[in-house]
């Protein structure tokens, strides 16, 4: 340890001491006392790990919207190209991560862009930690391939997954899943951009050439040969002009409650306890912590007012409900671990594809020629045709996850986490094959896609 280090350490501790003292003596004053050094220009020598990157600057490539005759007009401007890639996967949820890994394993150069700071989307950020929809009657698991690999690897993590037995829906730990996906994404050597919200598709003559992202760094473009829309809400195909069905569905908010292993209800209240426990969710890999689902009302998940109201109301309800439960004898120790960062929007946009996932295909039990996966959650497995990932007219784009083309009653199954793994896997392989063969995704050799999917362990009947 040299002298400078020693001084720096002393500096930190002295500031901490000042802060501590101020905190004890006079409330708000402590804040100013602590914040003062940080606000005073250069941090050089002050002991803070903050440095001036640029002393006086403004956002580059600015062309602010302006008010023209009462209307806000966005002038023409250049958007800097951040990156160029073979396959661009927009959305790092359960479908997007699997699609990116699959495309990479098929041999394409892949870029994965995610709006939040973690992977998994609604699976982890929405706390939809129950893996359901991968089993059909008789306990057969139809979600194989990379989805199954994820589950196997979660099993190896301590506290990663519980109830992983044949014929049972397992529950994962959201943090374990987030960690695992980081590990897998790094193993696959994907180019990743987090905190980027895909806002617009770059389109020429009905062909998607890339996607524009909004971030703290402003707008950037990523150019790609094929784009996989794994946004869940179909943001990219919608902005690119593809036709879709706009649907409403239930919007809820999942939460986690802790100390459920410490409830001590009086024995005479057994019936009441059972009733209370019915609304306290299901166990997670963390001891004493349950995840509590919420179905919520049916609403439009694309409407800003609705989304705002849902967030506010749901958070109020979760808090108040738990307080009410805590007022019951024996439940005093319960506490709210967290509410999900992401609102549980189930279905919004559903692509109008070349074909769609149909109930009748399941009933008929037919082997579709372009099947790229099977979904479950029903008595019989249902085939996912390649056409359900391909927009009717738009080119160079494939959908994956809950926004693929599906009938009303099937969309409810398509959206389940393991089925998102399956559609993601298919979209990733198909996108890579399209790049390799230099063709449009709609012209891809489905036989080849099926062969590669099988090689990667996917179940195709």
């Amino acid at each position: 340890m040299n002298r400078r280090d020693l001084l720096r350490r002393l500096g930190i501790s002295s500031v901490a001491a000042v802060g501590w003292g101020a905190g004890v003596t006079g409330g708000m004053g402590a804040q100013t006392a602590v914040n003062q050094p940080a606000g005073s220009g250069s941090a050089e020598g002050s002991g803070f790990q903050s440095h001036t990157i640029s002393p006086r600057t403004s956002m580059p490539h600015r062309a602010n919207p302006t008010l023209v005759r009462g209307k806000v007009i966005q002038p023409q401007r250049e958007i800097p190209i951040l990156h160029q890639t073979d396959v661009l996967v927009v959305g790092g949820g359960s479908a997007g991560v699997v699609a990116a890994i699959a495309a990479r394993r098929t041999g394409a150069e892949v870029t994965l862009v995610e709006r939040y700071g973690h992977f998994g989307g609604l699976w982890t950020g929405g706390l939809v930690v129950l893996i359901t929809g991968h089993i059909v009657k008789g306990g057969k698991q139809v979600c194989q391939g990379i989805g199954e690999e994820i589950m196997q690897r979660l099993e190896k993590l301590d506290g990663g997954i519980i109830d992983r037995r044949p014929g049972v829906d397992p529950t994962v730990d959201a943090e374990a899943a987030k960690y695992l996906m980081v590990e897998m994404v790094e193993e696959a050597e994907l180019k990743v951009f987090l905190h980027c919200w895909g806002v617009d598709a770059i389109v020429r003559d009905n062909e998607v050439l890339g996607v524009v992202f909004e971030s703290k760094a402003g707008r950037h473009a990523v150019l790609a040969k094929v784009v996989v829309d794994a946004t869940g809400d179909g943001d990219i195909f919608a902005t690119a002009g593809a036709e879709f069905e706009h649907r409403s569905h239930n919007i809820g908010l999942v939460s986690r409650v802790g100390n459920l292993d410490r409830i001590e209800p009086p024995p005479e209240a057994a019936a009441k306890v059972k009733e209370i426990m019915r609304r306290l969710g299901r166990p997670t890999p963390v001891t004493g912590v349950h995840w509590v689902n919420m179905r919520g009302p049916e609403a439009d998940g694309l409407d800003l007012e609705t989304l705002t109201r849902m967030e506010l109301n749901h958070r109020k309800f979760i808090w108040r409900h738990l307080q009410q439960v805590r007022s019951q004898p024996g439940f005093e120790r319960l506490y709210l671990v967290e509410t999900a960062p992401q609102l549980g929007v189930r279905i919004t946009r559903v692509l109008l594809g070349v074909s769609m996932v149909r109930w009748s295909d399941m009933e008929a039990g037919v082997q579709l020629p372009d099947v790229v996966g099977y979904g479950g959650g029903t008595a019989r497995e249902w085939p996912i045709p390649y056409g359900s990932l391909v927009p009717e007219k738009l080119d160079n784009l494939l959908a994956a996850g809950r926004c693929i083309a599906a009938e009303m009653r099937m969309a409810d199954l398509v959206r389940l986490i393991p089925n998102c793994f399956v559609t993601g896997h298919a979209a990733g392989v198909a996108a890579a094959v399209a790049v390799q063969d230099g063709c449009r995704p709609r012209d891809v050799d489905v036989k080849k896609v099926q062969r590669i999917l099988r090689e990667q362990g996917a179940y195709l009947g």
Binding site: G252, R279, G281, N293, M294, R295, G296, N313, H321, D412
Partner: protein, 492 residues
């Protein structure tokens, strides 16, 4: 008659000691042992033999030929009925018509259910034929009669004989019709065509149902083996009904002409023992004879049978309407109070159901409803657009339903137990709403309590059971229960 019997019996015993006798022949001769006092000879009487003996050679030949022809017709009919009733998948119209041929069933379902069966024209024709030709149907068509013929000859071969027993078939028929007038046909299930259909279905159904539907036909076969001819001549209500019709058809003769004329015409139109009667050396007491020919021999008996039937029918109607709907009946089933009476227990609905959700229930249905079909939604549900059970029902206990109007054919209405329903624990369950073929279920969210409950639209829900089958909980949270909000409980 008994004089004639004993007289002729002795002649037979002299000349032809062992002659097989079929129930057909017994029908022709009405020679099943009479229970009346003075019955002396236990031997049954083979008519063919009598006519052969009694008549000259040129007369016996056509009769023998006719008997052979009748037998041939009935064997053909056995094959035809068995083919139509047993044919898998097709001939639905014919299956219904096959049992509906019975004029007794047609009349009963007209009286009780106020419906005219499609087979009514055929039944009417057969009924008219029965007024002109004694037991026309039994002789030429009845497949059950032919089967019992065989059973009877088997019994005879074992050396079993008939026992004296009163004719009660006409009484059963009349009582049932009287009951039908008040809304409850009492013993329609004794119709020989229904029995034949039940026998055919028993062979085709799974073992459990085979026992159920085979029970009645088998017991009648056994009765016939032990007491050859007993069923056809004494017990069969369709036979008795035909005899009643015949008597009605010849009432005029009795009143206008002499009894002798009436008797002779009756015998002639019966088309058999004419020669015998003419050539019989000793004339039979005309009073006795006409009594035997006419079922309506005593207005007192007719009155007793009708009144008894009416009272029992009334009692049955009261018994079933006073209780709430307790059972799920097939779609289009008539009111419970009539259903158990109109149902002929032929088992065709149970056999025809592609989802195998119909079961004959001996216990659930109460003592009046033994073996009537009830719906169980354990394995399957009542498919939208499927109307097979309504198509095969011969007596319209299950009324006709058009595929497009299936939603109006109410079976029951689902009840939800929110203490079991997964929505009560906010689970991601959409099973019932997804399964509902009529989009009748909606999940209603409450902003106050933040709870979701399934709400079922009674205008769209016929209680097809698809939700119950799909419900993943054990026990089922959604169960189709008898009754329907749009169909008030039947009057008490």
């Amino acid at each position: 008659m008994k004089d004639q019997e004993s007289h002729e019996g002795s002649r037979i015993s002299l000349r032809t000691p062992s002659i097989e006798m079929t129930s057909q022949q017994m029908l022709n001769s009405s020679s099943y042992p009479e229970p009346e006092a003075g019955y002396s000879s236990p031997n049954t009487l083979p008519t063919n033999a009598v006519s052969q003996i009694a008549s000259d050679g040129n007369r016996s030949e056509p009769i023998r030929e006719r008997n052979l022809l009748q037998r041939f017709c009935r064997i053909l009919s056995v094959a035809g009925f068995a083919l139509i009733l047993g044919w898998v998948g097709t001939f639905y119209e014919l299956k219904r018509l096959a049992v509906g041929l019975s004029p007794w069933v047609s009349l009963s379902s007209f009286l009780a259910g106020s419906v005219v069966l499609e087979s009514a024209w055929a039944a009417l024709t057969l009924g008219l034929a029965a007024t002109l030709r004694r037991r026309f149907f039994c002789r030429w068509i009845c497949p059950t009669g032919q089967c019992l013929d065989w059973a009877g000859s088997f019994g005879k071969r074992l050396g079993l004989k008939g026992v004296p027993f009163p004719k009660i078939g006409w009484g059963i028929a009349l009582a049932t019709l009287a009951g039908a007038l008040l809304g409850y046909p009492l013993m329609l299930w004794l119709d020989p065509l229904a029995l034949f259909a039940a026998g055919v279905q028993a062979v085709r159904l799974n073992p459990a149902n085979t026992v159920v539907y085979g029970l009645l036909p088998l017991s009648i076969i056994l009765i016939t083996v032990v007491f050859p001819g007993l069923w056809c001549t004494r017990l069969c209500p369709l036979g008795g009904f035909q005899e009643t019709l015949y008597s009605i058809g010849h009432l005029e003769c009795r009143s206008s002409g002499t009894r002798e004329q009436a008797k002779e015409q009756a015998a002639r139109s019966a088309g058999m023992v004419a020669g015998q009667i003419e050539k019989t050396p000793r004339r039979i007491d005309s009073k006795q004879d006409s009594e035997d020919e006419s079922v309506l021999r005593s207005s007192r008996r007719v009155a007793i049978a009708s009144a008894g039937g009416a009272i029992l029918g009334w009692f049955a109607v009261c018994h079933t309407t006073s209780s709430k709907p307790r059972l799920l009946r097939p779609p289009g089933a008539v009111e419970e109070s009539v259903f158990t009476g109109l149902c002929v227990r032929c088992g065709q609905c149970v056999e025809s159901c592609p989802e195998s959700i119909l079961f004959p229930q001996p216990l659930e249905s109460g003592w009046l409803g033994w073996f009537t079909p009830v719906v169980h939604f354990e394995e399957g549900y009542c498919r939208e657009g499927c109307t097979r059970c309504t198509e095969v029902c011969p007596s319209r206990a299950i009324g006709r339903v058009k595929p497009a109007e299936k939603v109006q054919a109410i079976i029951g209405f689902p009840q939800v137990d929110m203490g079991v329903c997964l929505l009560g624990e906010e689970a991601e369950c959409w099973a019932c709403v997804r399964a509902c073929p009529y989009s009748a279920i909606r999940y209603e969210f409450s902003e106050e309590t933040y709870t979701t409950i399934p709400v079922i639209d009674p205008r769209r829900c016929p209680g097809c059971g698809a939700c119950q089958v799909a419900c993943p909980t054990k026990p089922k949270a959604i169960v189709v229960a008898p009754g329907h909000p749009l169909r008030p409980v039947s009057r008490t």
